[in-house]
Symmetry: C2
Subunit: 415 residues, 2 copies
C-alpha cells in the first residue's frame, strides 16, 4: 500500500502555518506499515488541486488529503476530488441532518454555506467529525482511493484514528505487521558517549533498529521493530533493552512518554523523602520543572529563589563570610544554600543551583555558563561545579536538568 | 517570480522530522513577494527526485531544494539536479580547498566521501556554508533555476539569507516591494473580545491587513502590508496601530519579538521598583518566567515557593487562622502571601499565586482551575480570584501570565 499526503491551504504556502498534519500522518503511516513516497502542498486553487489529485491517483494507492473541507467558497477539496474521480457532487441527507443537529446543540445559527459540507462525490463514504462541522469522506475505484480529512490538527487526528483507520481495516487495506517503537530516555550523558557505549549494538542493528535523538540535556535511544502486535514487539525489544540497561542504566530515567520530573518524583515518593530547593540562576524554573509533575506536593515542600545576595543570607542563612571569600557562584555557597533550603523548609533533602546564566555577569574566572550545585541529604552535603554551553535559556534548562540528574544519582546510590 | 519548495529526505516521509524548512522558506518568500504554489517532499530516491525536479523546472521559475547535500551515498540532490538540468557533475577546486580547510581547522579526519561535496553541476554557482561542510549551489538556464540548500535548519537559513538572497538580488530577481508585518502583543484579553473591539477595522482591512493569533493567555494582532522598505511600511502601520492602541492599549505589552516578562521588567526598571514573589500552584514557574529576561536581577529579588502549608506560615508569615478560616486557596491567604514575600525579601512589590492546578486537589467549592492572586505594593494590597480552563500545564501558564498582566495594570495605573 502506497500513500501520498496532500495538504490543501494557501496559509501553508504563505508560511503562516506549519504543516504538522503531514508529519502526523507520515509517522502514523510508518507505524502502520504504509509506504509514503510524496508529500504535496497546494493552495486553495481548484486547477492546481485537481492536477495534484489526478497525478496522485495514478501513482499512489491512497491519497490522504488534509484541509479544504470548510463551508466557504475557498474550501475546494470536495469539488476537486469529485472532478478528479469523475463523479458528481451529491448532498447526503444523513450528513445534512448531522450538521443541523451540531448547530442546534450549540444554539449557534447555521448559515447556508454550512449546507455545502453535506456534499460528497457520488459513491463516497462519509467519515464522521466529532470535533467540528466538516465531515470527511473516503472514495475508492479501480484506479485509486482518496480520503479527505479536515485541516485542524485535532479534528484530523480524531477522524484518522476513529473513522478512517477502522474503515481501512475492515477492508483489509492495512498491513498485518506495523512498526512499534520503544524510547529509552536518558539524562546526564552526552549523545556521543551513548553512541560510543552502544557502538557495537548500533553497528549490528537489524530488528530492532536503534536511533539516537539528542535534546537539551537529554538523549533518547529509540528502538523500532516491525511486529504484528505490541506483545510481539515487546519480545523483540526485551533483550536489547536489557543490554542497553546494563551499559547506561544509571542514566536512564524512564521510557516512552515519561518525564524526568515525574521520574524524580517517583524516586522521592517511593523512599518517603521530601525535598526543598534553593535557586539562584535558574530563577524558579527548577521548581517549576519539578512541579510540572502532578502530585508533586507529596514530596516537594517549597523553594527559595534567592536572586539577590541579601536573600541568600537572610532567607537561607548563607554566611556572609562565605559569599565574600568565594563569591555567590561557588561550591561553598551552593553547599550552604542547599543546607539552608533543607533546614528552613524542614525537608529531608535540599538542592541548590547558583550560577551565571548570562548574557551579562560573566567574568574571566567565572564565565557565563559556570554553575554550582549543592546536594544536601541523608548522604551529607555534596557540591559540584559545572560548565554549560548555550544561551541564557539553554544554560538555565541544562542546569535544572543537571540538578535533577544529580539528585537521581544520589538517591539510587543511597538506596 | 514563482518558486517551488522541494524537500528531500526519507526521514520527512517517515514522520521522524517535521518539515520546518518549507515553513521558513515559505514565510520568507511571502515577505519577499515571491509566490509559492507548491511544496513537495520526496525521499532519498534518485528517480523520484529527478521527476520532481523536471516537473518543477517546467512550471516554476525557481526551485528551492532542501536536503540531500551530505557526503554519503543517499545524498542525491547534486546528481539529480545535474540530471534534470542536463549538465555533467564537475569538481570545483575552490570548494574542495574550502572543505579541506574546514576539516583541517577542526582537526577531524576528512573521509574520502566528503570530497563528493565539492561537486556541482557544470555552470552552477557555489553558495557558501559557514556552519557546516555541505556547500549549496545555484544553477539557472533559459527554462528555470534551482538553488540546492542544506537540510539542517540552521545551515539552511544562514545560506538562504547570506548567500542565496544576495545573489538573487544582484540579478534583480527579487521583487521591489515585499511584505512587512508588525505584531501587536496583548495579554489579559481574549481573542473574541479583541475581534469584537476591532471588528470594524478587521472588516474594512485592505492595506495593512489585520489577523489575530491566539496563544496560551496571549493574543497577537498582526498587521501586514506590502511596501518597498521598512520606512514605507511603518508609515502604513502608524495610523492603524494608533487606533488599535486607543481601543485595547491597556492590554498591549509589546511589539514584534517582545516578551511579557521583558515588558514587565522594563516597567519595573523604569520606576526603580523591586519585586518578590510567593508562589504556590505555579510552583516556581512564574519566577522562572520573570527571570527568562536577561538582567532580571535589576528588579527581581527572589521568591518563596510555598508548596506546603507550613512554608506559607513559616516563611511568609501567613497567619494559621487565615488558612483555617479561608483555606490555602483563597484571596485572604493570597493577600497575606503577597505581603509576606514583599516584607521577607524587602521588596517594593510582592505578588502571590495560590490555586488548584490539578489534576487532583479540586473540590466542588474550589474546582481545578481556581486561582487566587495577591498584589501588594505602593497601591496597598489587592487580591483577585480567577478561574482558568485547561490542563495542569495550561492552568499554571495562564496563572503566571495573569499575575504579570495584573502587575502591569497596577504599575501603569499608579504611574
Amino acid at each position: 500500500m502506497r500513500a501520498e499526503i496532500i495538504a490543501v491551504g494557501t496559509e501553508l504556502l504563505l508560511g503562516e502555518v506549519l504543516n504538522t498534519n503531514a508529519h502526523y500522518l507520515s509517522s502514523r503511516c510508518a507505524e502502520l506499515g504504509i509506504d509514503v513516497y510524496h508529500h504535496i502542498t497546494v493552495g486553495d486553487n481548484f486547477a492546481r488541486l485537481c492536477e495534484t489529485l489526478s497525478v496522485g491517483r495514478e501513482r499512489s494507492d491512497l491519497l490522504l488529503v488534509t484541509g479544504g473541507l470548510g463551508p466557504t467558497a475557498d474550501d475546494i477539496s470536495r469539488e476537486a476530488t469529485a472532478a478528479a474521480w469523475g463523479r458528481p457532487l451529491v448532498t447526503d441527507p444523513d450528513l445534512l441532518d448531522r450538521i443541523r443537529t451540531y448547530f442546534c446543540n450549540r444554539t449557534v445559527e447555521m448559515t447556508a454555506n454550512n449546507e455545502s459540507q453535506a456534499q460528497m462525490p457520488e459513491g463516497a463514504i462519509a467519515l464522521e467529525n466529532h470535533r467540528g462541522t466538516a465531515p470527511g469522506f473516503y472514495l475508492a475505484d479501480d484506479v485509486g482511493s482518496v480520503a479527505c480529512l479536515p485541516g485542524p490538527p485535532g479534528e484530523l487526528r480524531a477522524m484518522f484514528e476513529e473513522a478512517l483507520l477502522p474503515l481501512l481495516r475492515s477492508r483489509d487495506l492495512i498491513p498485518e505487521t506495523r512498526l512499534f517503537s520503544r524510547e529509552i530516555l536518558t539524562a546526564g550523558i552526552g549523545e556521543s558517549t551513548v553512541a560510543d557505549k552502544l557502538a557495537d549494538l548500533i553497528d549490528a542493528q537489524t530488528q530492532p533498529t536503534i536511533a539516537l535523538y539528542s535534546g537539551t540535556g537529554t538523549v533518547r535511544v529509540r528502538l523500532t521493530t516491525r511486529a504484528a502486535d505490541a506483545e510481539e514487539a515487546n519480545e523483540t525489544f526485551v533483550a536489547l533493552q536489557g543490554e542497553i540497561g546494563r551499559r547506561i542504566g544509571e542514566y536512564i530515567y524512564g521510557y516512552d512518554g515519561d518525564s524526568l520530573s515525574a521520574s524524580v518524583g517517583r524516586d522521592l515518593r517511593e523512599r518517603g523523602l521530601t525535598i526543598a530547593l534553593a535557586e539562584s540562576c535558574t530563577g524558579g524554573s527548577l521548581s517549576g520543572m519539578l512541579t510540572d509533575a502532578a502530585g508533586a506536593s507529596d514530596y516537594f515542600l517549597g523553594a527559595i529563589v534567592s536572586y539577590s545576595n541579601a536573600a541568600k543570607e537572610d532567607l537561607l542563612g548563607v554566611p556572609q563570610s562565605l559569599m565574600i571569600e568565594w563569591g555567590a557562584v561557588s561550591e561553598p555557597v551552593a553547599g550552604a544554600m542547599a543546607e539552608g533550603a533543607r533546614d528552613v523548609l524542614g525537608a529531608d533533602i535540599g538542592i541548590s543551583v547558583t550560577g551565571v546564566a548570562g548574557p551579562g555577569g560573566g567574568t574571566e574566572e567565572k564565565p557565563v555558563g559556570t554553575v554550582c550545585f549543592g546536594f544536601s541529604g541523608p548522604w551529607g552535603t555534596e557540591t559540584e561545579g559545572h560548565f554549560f554551553t548555550g544561551d541564557r535559556a539553554g544554560v538555565r534548562r541544562r542546569s535544572a536538568i543537571y540538578a535533577l540528574v544529580g539528585l537521581r544519582r544520589r538517591l539510587s546510590r543511597s538506596s
